[in-house]
Amino acid sequence: MKLAVFVSDYRMTVDTLDRLSPEKMGIILVQNGVYHATLKENGTPSSLLNKSAEFYALKEDLETRGLDASKVDSKVKVIAMGDVVDLIFNDYEKTAWI
């Protein structure tokens, strides 16, 4: 299964993401999920970035929050809404908003 997972929170109230193990996973950081791409609590990047996945962060949600799109973690690709559409249709078969 090729699964695109939308993460829209920084503090998640469910542990579902930890249990998903698709053959291919893309994690698309949107809304408050974009903090995973930039914050280093006590100097440590988000543990979410240790997962085996491709990482994307929505540019407009980064900039909405005053975050510099050029300073995201090197694992994360900054994308526009049109790129989200392309990922959904071209790179993944199913989606999960958690």
């Binding site: 299964m1 579902t16 199913k94 989606t95 908003w97």
Partner: protein, 137 residues
């Protein structure tokens, strides 16, 4: 003739959020989906309760007595009555110190043949692979 399989994954406990109830009522709506489709085509919904979502399956809910609301337990029974597959994560049930005796497992009083399946997460994960689309509640 074709079938689209939907997997409903319920991750949150009942009542505080409307999500779990809407998962059940939408799944039950598969019963009438064919009015929109060509003859022979259909959509099915399987429901999996995982994480805190397994708390929806606790039996003896009294939401009607206290809030005048149809309980999640009743909705689970209605789902069984219309032959929806229901999977409950065994590890999460045990994590909360619950056992199968604490859960709504059937709807015999309504004449339902289906029963709730308490299974390891690995089985639920395999079911997710089989689905055409996943909907997380």
């Amino acid at each position: 003739m074709a079938t689209t399989k939907l997997g409903f994954i319920v991750q949150r406990p009942p009542y505080k959020s409307e999500n779990p109830k809407l998962a059940l009522t939408h799944a039950i709506a598969t019963q009438s989906v064919e009015v929109y489709l060509n003859e022979g085509d259909t959509v099915t919904a399987d429901i999996a309760f995982i994480g805190d979502g397994v708390l929806n399956c606790k039996k003896d809910q009294k939401a009607m007595d206290y809030y005048g609301l149809t309980s999640t337990e009743q909705h689970i029974k209605m789902a069984l009555l219309v032959d929806i597959n229901i999977w409950v994560c065994k590890e999460d049930v045990e994590k909360f110190g619950l056992s199968e005796d604490d859960l709504v497992l059937d709807a015999e009083e309504f004449g339902a043949d289906m029963t709730v399946n308490v299974v390891p997460y690995g089985e639920i994960s395999k079911k997710m692979e089989e689905m055409n689309h996943l909907l997380f509640f």
